[in-house]
Symmetry: C2
Subunit: 168 residues, 2 copies
């Protein structure tokens, strides 16, 4: 028995993005309950040269939208990084999920050895499909999702690991 | 074409643990260079009721060691949570990797529908093997690895995402 590239990619990615929506909703509710300007949380970062919460969400969207599109040999829709409210960030993730729902198993399955050229700044990184998924897309997504969680947690939002993992 | 449970689990997990060793080494070097008592970093946390760095590493070890052993139907060695230095935490990860190296593809492959009963506190969570890997082991590992990174980054250690992802 084996598993497919689709099973290893689209469902866990969508699950993480759904959990991230829930985390942002809790951040939004916390700001309202504590009468904190939501932009304070949205612009928070863990260190001066780290990205703020908004950028963590934008990158989580970009990595997965563009990454899975690249595996599927389709062009991902571009998104403008102009979100300034929790609702806009939540909508960005909802639109990302809606896009991922259009990608079919037939488009992703069989891409484990597919050649992927990833332009990063001045460089291009070459991957096969499976390492691209397992060592780039997934850890990158979880990195930014966890950092978003940590920014809110560090700001006093009451979150637990179950919010990050989602209900089993 | 398809991928195997082993490919989707052991290599990316070992890669993440190797990267975490590198991150801890940079934390250790930072403490030495800045004449910071290393225990300050090891006991740092992002919020008073979050776990400190040491516990993040211990959990990253436990989740993967016990998780992959459970998939492979073997008993993982227990480890005592008594690390108080960077070197001890690094050794914990090295011992975890050495253990994972003993798990073979034949033990993990074909476990995608295997029934997993996971005792958590008073409850037991039931999984099939693939969701156990994709929605529990991997996100949990990356959650604690990222939080370890964020604790050190928040403490001023110079780290970049390449330290977390590792060289392609």
């Amino acid at each position: 028995m084996t598993i497919s590239m689709y099973q290893a990619s689209v469902p866990p990615v969508m699950r993480c993005l759904h959990n991230l929506i829930n985390i942002l909703q809790k951040g939004d509710a916390h700001a309202e309950a504590k009468k904190i300007d939501p932009s304070v949380l949205i612009n928070s970062r863990l260190y001066p040269d780290m990205y703020p919460l908004s950028k963590q969400i934008q990158i989580a969207s970009d990595i997965t939208r563009k990454g899975l599109a690249r595996l599927a040999s389709v062009e991902a829709p571009s998104m403008v990084d102009d979100e300034t409210t929790f609702q806009q960030l939540i909508d960005r993730l909802k639109n990302t999920i809606a896009y991922l729902e259009t990608i079919t198993p037939a488009q992703i399955d069989g891409t484990e050895h597919k050649h992927i050229s990833l332009p990063i700044g001045k460089h291009t990184i070459e991957f096969e499909g499976m390492p691209y998924l397992a060592t780039f897309i997934l850890p990158n997504l979880y990195f930014h999702a966890t950092t978003a969680y940590n920014i809110l947690r560090h700001s006093g939002v009451e979150l637990g690991k179950i919010d990050f993992l989602g209900k089993p």
